[in-house]
Symmetry: C2
Subunit: 121 residues, 2 copies
């Protein structure tokens, strides 16, 4: 099953469906993950570069979110034994594939924004 339309009713929403959708939701939950992933679409980056991309994030949140994303197999962390130490973050294959999710979210968000503004103003 790869589409909701393949189900007859909600009672058929199998564990698989719920688990897979929740996996995806958990990847982006929180205030910053979508921004961090988006930042890394444009190539591997160092901690400080991501921090500059997302000005209002603080270091505690950035390192926590990066750890989450690493644990979830979305980014990989590479440490270079230089002085001072250099660290680079890069998307995994799954991380890059997440682009299609964000693309659809963007498309739906734009359309929805148009609908709502059309109906409330």
């Amino acid at each position: 099953m790869t589409k909701i339309s393949e189900l007859k009713d909600f009672s058929e929403c199998s564990t698989t469906y719920i688990l897979a959708v929740n996996d995806t939701i958990n990847v982006i939950n929180g205030k910053w993950k979508a921004a961090i992933i988006s930042s890394l679409f444009f190539g591997k980056k160092r901690y400080g570069e991501i921090e500059k991309d997302i000005p209002k994030i603080n270091s505690r949140m950035l390192s926590k979110e990066l750890r989450d994303l690493e644990a979830n197999g979305i980014v990989v962390r590479k440490v270079y034994d230089t002085i001072p130490v250099g660290v680079e973050y890069e998307l995994t294959e799954s991380g890059h594939a997440f682009r299609k999710v964000l693309d659809v979210m963007l498309e739906w968000g734009l359309e929805h924004r148009k609908n709502v503004i059309g109906k409330t103003i």
Copy 2:
């Protein structure tokens, strides 16, 4: 702009991009909204029917989430002046269009699950 690949780097992530993606994230944030929307894909339902579809939700959360979804233009609430009062919830056009977001989330989630299991077991 309707795709991330139309940007050269993250600094071009315009307000439009951020706002639209956040609109979408906010629609499903929280523990229950994806399930509620999915339940309504299969037609308009009454409060109690949704409650039965999602066994572990409690009434405070269900009515709160439904109010959120209504305020965001995802569902409409229709009251029938019967005794006892009947209420039906139904997806708006935007709500139905959200199917494509969930479809991509499902597809990515399944693929990701395969990747991660393949690499950790």
